[in-house]
């Protein structure tokens, strides 16, 4: 990477404590003069040290230092007495004044007249590369929002009518309720459950359970009948294999004969309904089932029980 290479060369030059020759050549070609004791910190923090280099700092790293008072920085950055060396190379005053050089922290000298400003783009680029938070950012302007030269028209824009207002009000009311519930630590949950209730016609139904805190709201799910009401025209299995068998059997019964063949004996039996074929009337303990009645139903002889398919 050329950028990294360049940074490494700058660091190497600063470690030698003298201005590298390539920098001199650059500035000479550009009409710039450069002090001989330029250090890497000067490049990083944007200030050029005119005084002789101080001993290495004994303080914490420069990133943790608080910025100096703004008056100092403003003064250093915008001193009108500094003559420009070259009108071409004089940059504009930096937007973000540079923080003090950490190598100056032990320096008790009064503030010196500001030197010619260092090239801010250079320090900015380095600070961005090293992610120095206290360092000045580059002077690149923020990219403005892209202007839509041909903005797309919104397709669903309609003139607000009364219904829309009502809907908006209802939505706002719901949102307020929800927020109020959330403030009390209550959360709205929606759960779909399958409920079996033998007292209802479709004894098996899907319900939607909306719970908010201790309050319950129960509603039937749309198309809630998940048993007994099958649409045969769709031809899709919806309630399991047994339901399919019953359906097929019913079809076969209508098509073929009005009776059923008893599976054990092969005798043709005429049954009124498909649902309760062999079942006896529910016996109560007080009204015992006649032996003969149950025997015809329950009689599974040993030979038949042994039969394996």
């Amino acid at each position: 990477m050329p950028c990294c290479h360049w940074v490494l060369s700058v660091a190497e030059s600063s470690s030698n404590n003298k201005t590298p020759s390539w920098l001199h050549r650059l500035h000479t070609k550009g009409g710039l003069s450069f002090p001989s004791h330029l250090q890497i910190d000067d490049l990083l923090y944007g200030r050029i040290q005119l005084s002789p280099p101080s001993p290495p700092p004994l303080v914490p790293p420069p990133l943790l230092l608080p910025p100096p008072p703004p008056s100092d920085r403003d003064h250093a950055a915008t001193n009108p007495q500094d003559p420009p060396h070259n009108p071409k190379s004089i940059p504009k005053p930096p937007r973000n004044p540079a923080p003090p050089n950490p190598s100056d922290t032990n320096n008790n000298h009064p503030p010196q007249p500001s030197p010619p400003p260092s090239p801010p783009p250079l320090s900015g680029v380095i600070s961005e590369i090293f992610a120095v938070p206290s360092a000045p950012r580059s002077n690149r302007l923020l990219k403005p929002f892209r202007k839509q030269y041909r903005p797309r028209p919104r397709s669903n824009v309609k003139p607000a009518n009364k219904d829309d207002k009502d809907k908006a009000k209802a939505r706002k009311r719901r949102r307020d309720d929800r927020d109020a519930a959330a403030e009390h630590g209550e959360r709205r949950s929606r759960t779909e459950v399958t409920v079996i209730d033998t007292s209802t016609d479709g004894w098996k139904a899907a319900k939607v359970l909306v719970r908010r805190g201790a309050n319950w709201k129960i509603s039937d799910r749309k198309n809630s009948e998940i048993s007994e009401t099958e649409d045969h025209s769709k031809g899709k299995r919806r309630a399991g294999l047994v339901a399919k068998v019953l359906r097929d059997k019913k079809k076969g019964k209508h098509a073929a004969s009005p009776g059923n063949i008893h599976p054990g004996s092969g005798i043709l039996m005429k049954v009124p309904d498909d649902a309760a074929v062999e079942a006896p009337k529910r016996p109560r303990s007080c009204e015992p089932v006649p032996v003969g009645q149950s025997a015809t139903i329950l009689q599974i002889t040993s030979s038949s029980t042994c039969s394996q398919p």
Binding site: R190, T191, V195, S199, V242, L246, R282, L298
Partner: protein, 389 residues
Amino acid sequence: MAPLRGAKRRKKVAAEKKAAMAAAAAGQGAPGGDWWDGFCMRMAGTLSPAADAHRFEFLFKMPRRTFNYVCSLVKDDMMVRASSYTFLDGTVLSLEDRVAVALRRLNSGGSLVTVGTSVGVNHSTVSLITWRFVEAVEARAGHHLRWPDSDEMAMIKSKFEKIHGLPNCCGVVDTTHIIMCLSSAEPNCKVWLDHEKNYSMVLQAVIDPDMRFTDIVTGWPGSMKESSILHSSGLFRLCENGVRLNGGKLMVSDGSEVGEYVIGDAGYPLLPWLLTPYQENDLSDLKVEFNKRHSAARTVALKALARFKDTWKFLQGEMWRPDKHKLPRIIHVCCLLHNIVIDMEEDAAMDDAQISHDHDANYRQQVCQLSDEKAVRMRDRLSEHLNSS
């Protein structure tokens, strides 16, 4: 010896299967052979010696006659694809084998693997057979769980009056919790968290004096209270509209009438058709007597639900993340089987000493303070009538 591969392996498997089928056919053709003998041989390693005397009832929680009746009910549905389920040795499961596997799954409380290993089938076969059985019983045995007609209701009322001293009582309503294991990461799992911090599904049942279910509601999550479940049930709607419990009225001592009613514990509201006990502290003798008879009659429900959960241990054990849309159907089928067993019993008298009264262990009694003014007056009149009669 190196394992067989390719055609040799396939040939060996086919030969083994053929031999197993031949053996099964030979057993089938034996004149004195019974299905139960073969099944006992398969389960010989897993049967406990103590169960030898009543081995069949120990295994299936029902007598052989009832088992045969269940087989006849589900025969057409269970044998749709007769050769689709086999034992591990390749033998095809007969109808009785399939019903036995499903019943073992529902009443043993064991896992699919445990049940499969005990009877010698793959665990996935156990799962498929059990679900087929549930569908079949659901479709074929619905008439075993229904609201009694007028004649049956007259019998129920006379039994409650004779045994517990409560005239015109038509049943006991109670609730139990079917506990599940859910992951806390599961969406909306808190809905299933009941007041005792268990994940559960609720079963509400109306029970007659023979411990038979006459009405059930299940599928609601455990966080719902008894009163909420009752309020959302078809029973509530029908009773409020006068479609149910609209039979003969009881003429009490002061000349007024008391209609048909069911009784429930303090977790239910006091309604004209649902009488709950007095909950005050200082009760008169009349009220104490009413509470005493009320409590005695309610033991029927406690026993029935305890027996139900003790028989169908699938529901008593803590299921790991069950399908909450399938579980109500399994509960319903267990209720149907519970009623079938009672319906087929020769002697309805149960050994009370063996039946626990605690179907919801460690659950505190819920309390509902709602009461209807008309119901309060009706309960007072009934208390006076009990004392005078």
